[in-house]
């Protein structure tokens, strides 16, 4: 038995784990399985405490790359950081990337991850051409939009429950440089955010805002709007910075509403000072937190809960109410991320992204009071017809999950009988 914790460090589990040796290996049937990539899911969707985790770290080979079409065939344990290093010098980039490059291809498919370009490109699943799925009965199925279509749609966003993705073909995106042309626009209110999103969606591939969640009243929703496109030309060479590491757990309450408020003020002020156009390297632009090893330790040993939800865009009142609720509880943490999703429907039965406005923020785990607040926020999300992101969740109720994901019953039929997760036991 080994101790595991997800990225949010809550909940913790003692459990069995093995590594799959190579892509020809089979799974025995003496346990339940859950594929484990790099452990970047925030909650219990990457734990299987009654069964066994199957690490995919040795499924780390490229199988082929066609540099004329940009289709990469790779095993599922390969990480995004590795793909960028390999394909960027040839003029290719990931079609969709989340805010960390330390996720695996398998994890990206299983959570149908999205990025700042959702309004233009949709989710990662839209760029999955096909994959091989290993089921517990030993069958290996090629799944694509035309072959085993239902299993394809169940596996995209399927949280690793439909079998183990062995390899996948991914359509990469051509780029001319490693840089982005970024425009930084400070804005003062939620209405301004809405206008900026609307005005930017045609001409910018990447849009996102950092929001000060503790700002109240007329400042509610204020933040820094960042919009960007891939640059035509390289920028100045990137200085190789020494990576910072958070060496130990911060003591329990070092992050409290006073320190966080001060930080958010500073961040807003700094963003306002740097307003305007700039050229940024992809690494700090897409992955600002990857520069700090183990940043999840700043919340202390009790961990944190990330709350990420989407509500339909015609319902800005819901997001206003939720943000007011967070601000008045004084519970929100650092920079929250606000983003308008576009209209492209997600492929996966359990995919999270859908048209609407999406907010993500961390809450230090202060026990009962934190859980009660989040349950309260769930009520707003449910009333607004929104949804919560399973990859970030460690506590939503069964009832909430079933409302957020109406294709659940359809999905159930595709779950591999020998695959399970703590998340799945909790919500389904």
């Amino acid at each position: 038995m080994v101790k595991y914790e997800p990225w949010g460090r809550y909940p913790k589990a003692e459990q069995r784990a093995i590594s799959i040796v190579d892509r020809y290996a089979m799974l025995d049937n003496d346990s339940t399985w859950l594929p484990f990539g790099n452990g970047r899911s925030y909650g219990d969707s990457c734990l299987n405490s009654d069964g066994t985790l199957v690490h995919t770290q040795y499924l780390n080979k490229y199988l082929a790359f066609d540099s004329s079409t940009g289709i990469l065939r790779c095993e599922s344990g390969i990480k995004f950081c590795e793909i960028i290093d390999t394909v960027l010098p040839m003029g290719w980039f990931l079609p969709v990337t989340p805010g960390t490059k330390f996720v695996t291809v398998g994890g990206a498919i299983a959570n149908d991850v999205h990025g700042k370009n959702h309004h233009v490109d949709g989710c990662f699943g839209h760029f999955v051409v096909q994959f091989e799925l290993l089921r517990s009965d030993g069958t290996r199925l090629i799944c694509s939009p035309t072959e085993n279509e239902a299993l394809f749609k169940a596996t995209i966003g399927g949280l690793g429950l439909t079998g183990l993705i062995v390899w996948a073909d991914i359509q990469l995106k051509p780029v001319k440089s490693a840089y982005l042309d970024v425009e930084t626009v400070p804005y003062a209110s939620l209405d301004e955010f809405r206008q900026l999103s609307e005005a930017s969606k045609e001409n910018f591939v990447y849009t996102v805002a950092w929001v000060d969640c503790l700002a109240r009243g007329e400042n509610l929703g204020r933040g820094i709007f960042l919009r960007a496109n891939h640059a035509e030309h390289q920028g100045p060479p990137q200085r190789v910075k020494k990576k910072l590491t958070v060496p130990i757990d911060f003591p329990g309450r070092s992050l409290n509403k006073y320190t966080i408020k001060a930080f958010n003020h500073l961040y807003y002020w700094n963003g306002a000072r740097n307003a305007g156009l700039s050229k940024q390297h992809y690494d700090p632009y897409f992955y600002p937190l990857d520069g700090i090893n183990n940043w999840n330790r700043i919340y202390g040993g009790a961990g944190f809960l990330q709350y990420q939800f989407v509500v339909p865009s015609d319902n800005y009142d819901a997001i206003r109410e939720i943000m007011a609720c967070i601000a008045s509880a004084g519970a929100g943490s650092f920079l929250a991320v606000l983003k308008e999703f576009g209209e492209i429907p997600s492929l996966g039965m359990l995919s999270f992204p859908r048209k609407g406005v999406c907010l993500a923020l961390d809450f230090p785990n202060h026990g009962k009071q934190t859980f009660e607040l989040l349950d309260h926020l769930d009520e707003y999300v449910m009333a607004a017809g929104g949804a919560i992101y399973p990859a970030k969740d460690a506590r939503m109720s069964r009832q909430a999950f079933q409302q957020f994901f109406p294709a659940l019953d359809n999905f159930r039929a595709h779950v591999d009988p020998a695959f399970c997760s703590d998340f799945w036991l909790r919500v389904a």
């Binding site: 590594s19 790779c74 390999t86």
Partner: protein, 246 residues
């Protein structure tokens, strides 16, 4: 752009060494027993940027084929810059400790097959007056312990052989690196539950090997702290050591 030969290319450390060379646009020859796995590695290295990758399928334990293998290597590659040797098996001490046939097989897999190949390859490199041989031995060779002294004595023999070979080849401009890794987290040790702080990733070990080969280091302990550990272990008086449970 170097020319690189990797013997025992399917081992986890060898694969990582190969990846680092591929990223440098080098040309590689991979040698191993399992053709399917070698082909997977070949494709992987091509995507990673290798100039060219060829495969030679040989069971390295069959030393009667070593002449032929050596011919093949130098037919494909006129002048190798780096020759890595990474094959080996961690035998079970309980099995081979009381069984000479098993012990002999372990010696063959972890030392004699290496020497057989090194004799042939070093002759060629001597004639070329260039090249670096990097051979993976083990910290286990530094002192015999009851828990794995068949493996340990095989590696001790290998390391002593490498010392002598280095001495001989120095005059010819050929370098010999003796790599002594500690515990490595490989698929062979896929049972994750027993791992602790002393376990290193194959990536880390591979980076150390490549740096040491470039710098023409003689002996590499990887990760570095094994040098300290083994210095202590080597210096425990035998009168005490023989009573320990190591």
């Amino acid at each position: 752009m170097s020319n690189v030969v990797i013997i025992g290319a399917t081992s986890a450390v060898a694969q990582e060494v190969a990846k680092l060379h591929a990223a440098e646009r080098d040309t590689l020859i991979l040698i191993g027993r399992n053709a399917t796995r070698l082909e997977d590695i070949q494709n992987d290295l091509m995507v990673r940027g290798a100039a060219d990758v060829s495969i030679l399928v040989y069971d390295l334990l069959e030393d009667d084929k070593h002449d032929e293998l050596c011919e093949q290597i130098f037919e494909h590659m006129i002048k190798p810059d780096y020759v890595y040797m990474a094959h080996g098996v961690l035998p079970d001490q309980n099995t081979c400790g009381g069984n000479y046939v098993a012990a002999k097989a372990a010696f063959n897999a972890n030392c004699l097959s290496h020497i057989s190949l090194l004799i042939r390859i070093s002759t060629r490199l001597k004639a070329l007056q260039a090249g670096t041989l990097a051979v993976i031995s083990s910290v286990a060779g530094d002192r015999g312990r009851k828990s794995n002294y068949i493996y340990g004595s095989a590696k001790a023999m290998l390391s002593a052989y490498l010392q002598g070979l280095r001495n001989e080849l120095f005059a010819y401009g050929v370098h010999v690196l003796d790599v002594k890794p500690g515990f490595i987290d490989t698929p062979m040790t896929a049972d994750i539950e027993k791992k602790g702080a002393l376990w290193a990733t194959p990536q880390k070990v591979a980076e150390d090997i490549i740096t040491a080969a470039r710098k023409k280091k003689n002996t590499l302990y990887t990760p570095w702290f094994w040098f300290l550990i083994m210095t202590i272990i080597k210096n425990i008086p035998e009168s005490i050591f023989k009573r320990l449970n190591l």
